[in-house]
């Protein structure tokens, strides 16, 4: 494997991993496969775009990129605001749809189906608001710098790998070192028992959507920065996200990140060896292999 494939895979993998962390948390704590999670990525990316344009228009000057990156100060601020707004969106969808179904005692598969309907509605709403024409955060051209080992990378790419790394460490520390994290893991293990020892389950559910939404927004904005912003960007990432979650083992945050990196590397390798047009099938191949050989994933427990 050449260094360049490694870098491409690492980038795609960091993006997939960030999205997958949120997905694995909702999967293990709310106990359903959320098909609308991809839409949180797309909405996050578009919210960042709109907010950065708005901030740029108001302040006037902050649209200039921060050398050597193509990212402007407006976009960084917009990204942070968009994380909060994506979390609000996730909470709103939960309040309107998933919470009601949970309250009625609907089976997991009904909730999955509702998430499927929600994903269609959310995605088409983006298409309605922004049209399906691709958008970009910046028209700035980035020159790839030569790195040791014959690898070439743009400053943006390096920045995003670093950012993803920081985000995952933060979530990992949150889950393992804080009371909230311990409570989240307790609810994931056994919600009834967690309730008995006085854990506020509703609060945990809110925390899950906030973390999941914020990370999805980060991943979506990253993807928009590296490739482009389209209404279908999140939906197209959904299968790789699921592949990462299943490969890592449902509920495992390090597993989701590692799963994302492996899926990303497999994709980069397949693009090099088989051809870019088959990229989207790689995630399904990974899922197939995991389900046949080790259905619990790398770090999962038996269901």
């Amino acid at each position: 494997m050449s260094g360049q494939i490694l870098l491409e895979g690492l980038l795609a993998g960091a993006m997939i991993g960030l999205g997958a962390v949120g997905l694995t948390l909702t999967y293990s704590i709310l106990r359903f496969a959320n098909f609308a999670h991809g839409e949180l990525l797309s909405w996050g990316a578009y919210l960042s775009l709109s907010l950065s344009l708005a901030i740029g228009a108001v302040s006037g000057a902050s649209l200039a990129p921060l050398d050597p990156f193509s990212v402007s100060a407006a976009l960084i601020l917009a990204g942070l605001l968009a994380m909060a707004l994506t979390a609000v969106l996730a909470l709103a969808v939960d309040h309107l749809l998933f919470a009601r179904l949970r309250g009625r005692g609907a089976t997991a598969i009904i909730v999955v189906m509702a998430s499927f309907g929600a994903s269609m509605a959310l995605r088409s709403l983006l298409e309605f608001l922004y049209t399906s024409k691709p958008a970009y955060y910046s028209r700035e051209l980035q020159i790839a710098m030569p790195l040791p080992g014959g690898i070439r990378a743009t400053p943006d790419q390096l920045l995003l790998i670093g950012l993803a790394f920081v985000a995952v460490i933060a979530v990992h520390l949150l889950l393992t070192r804080t009371d909230l994290g311990r409570a989240m893991r307790a609810v994931s293990e056994n919600p009834a028992l967690a309730g008995v020892v006085g854990i506020d389950t509703a609060k945990i559910v809110r925390a899950v959507w906030i973390i999941g939404g914020a990370l999805a927004c980060t991943a979506g904005t990253m993807s928009g920065l590296l490739v482009q912003i389209r209404p279908y960007m999140g939906f197209d990432l959904l299968l790789p996200l699921f592949a990462a979650v299943i490969l890592g083992g449902i509920g495992s945050v390090p597993g989701a990140m590692l799963g994302g990196l492996i899926v990303g590397l497999c994709e980069a390798l397949a693009v090099q060896t088989i051809g870019a047009e088959w990229r989207a099938a790689v995630a399904f191949a990974v899922i197939t292999v995991v389900l046949v050989l080790r259905p619990t994933g790398l770090f999962g427990r038996a269901a």
Binding site: A33, V112, A114, M120, S124, S132, I287, T288, L291
Partner: protein, 333 residues
């Protein structure tokens, strides 16, 4: 004028009935068995492409084009989609329920990619044309052609309906429902849940493949963009609206949702300005998506509930409703 209108009605109904076939297939998987398939479009595409390859005339530089009779094509579609479903079922049904959903989603993406990229077999983005149409020799007389095709589809849907009704009442169908309602009890009675589920999943997938083939032959042309996730979504909307678990509901849902879809598309076309058609169409999808969620929230049983669903839980209702009108009627007179 009225003849043209009649021909259009026949055309509309025929397309709706090809959807009804697919919805009946989904009803076997979801309605009877509780298996969630998010990749309906993939199984429909496999049926359509297999039948097209078997029956279309040979084309230079493309595999397939065997020019076989249409019936062979439909049979091939049924078998191919059934085998694919059996394979997916075998792989995932022993695992948690939503793994099946994720795998079917994956298979739909992969099938879509395969038909787009395997140009030597599927014609790539250009698709396959010249698929023989049933009663093709009538094509000159549009009304006779439309009515003959409508009759064929009515026969197919009615035949499927009778078969599925019979199956639902058979020991096999009863075992399926028992497993869906209480897996452990059914297992204690010696029924292997996994085997029954795989069989039901394969049967449902095979019927979807047949529906795909019927659609392909009626239109005469297929291309990858016919089998986007939107198709899966439409078929689900049809089943949920009609009432899952009820075969008549499945057919009714297909007709109703297709009518709503066609009418709202016509409305969009008439009302939206020329440049904004695509945007207006996406708003149409938003509304359908919200409607699907609303039905799941407020009327999960659909228009026609599953036969015996509520009555089974309320025995007095069965006695009350189930008594023939003659006895109550004779009391009153």
């Amino acid at each position: 004028m009225s003849l043209e209108f009649l021909a259009y009605c026949a055309f509309f109904l025929t397309v709706a009935l090809t959807y009804a076939v697919i919805v009946l297939g989904l009803n076997v998987q979801w309605g009877q068995t509780g298996l969630f398939n998010v990749g309906v479009a993939g199984f429909v595409a496999v049926g359509a492409y297999v039948s097209a390859l078997l029956t279309s005339p040979a084309v230079e530089g493309r595999f397939g084009g065997l020019d076989l009779p249409i019936l062979v094509g439909w049979l091939g579609a049924f078998v191919a989609a059934g085998l694919l479903s059996a394979l997916i079922g075998w792989m995932t049904i022993r695992l948690r329920a939503d793994y099946l959903a994720i795998s079917t989603f994956g298979i739909a993406v992969t099938v879509q990619l395969a038909v787009l990229n395997l140009e030597d077999v599927t014609g790539g983005p250009f698709g396959i044309s010249l698929i023989p149409r049933p009663f093709g020799d009538l094509a000159g007389r549009s009304l006779a052609f439309s009515l003959a095709n409508l009759a064929l589809l009515v026969a197919v849907v009615f035949g499927l309906y009778l078969m599925l009704q019979h199956l639902a009442k058979s020991p096999w169908g009863r075992a399926l429902r028992a497993i869906r309602e209480d897996e452990m009890a059914a297992e204690a009675l010696g029924k292997s849940p996994r085997r029954f589920r795989i069989e039901a999943f394969a049967l449902g997938g095979a019927i979807m493949g047949l529906g795909g083939a019927a659609q392909a032959h009626f239109i005469g042309f297929i291309a990858p963009e016919n089998y986007l996730p939107m198709l899966t979504f439409q078929v689900w909307a049809m089943l949920i609206v009609g009432g899952s678990g009820n075969n008549r509901g499945a057919i009714l849902g297909a007709l109703l949702v297709w009518a709503l879809w066609a009418a709202s598309s016509a409305l969009v076309e008439a009302l939206a300005p020329a440049g904004e058609q695509a945007r207006a169409a996406s708003l149409q999808t938003v509304i359908i998506g919200v409607a699907l969620c609303a039905i799941l929230l407020f009327r999960p049983q659909g228009l026609l509930p599953e036969p015996g669903g509520a009555r089974r839980r309320l025995p007095f209702l069965r006695r009350w409703r189930g008594t023939p009108a003659a006895t109550t009627g004779s009391d009153r007179t």
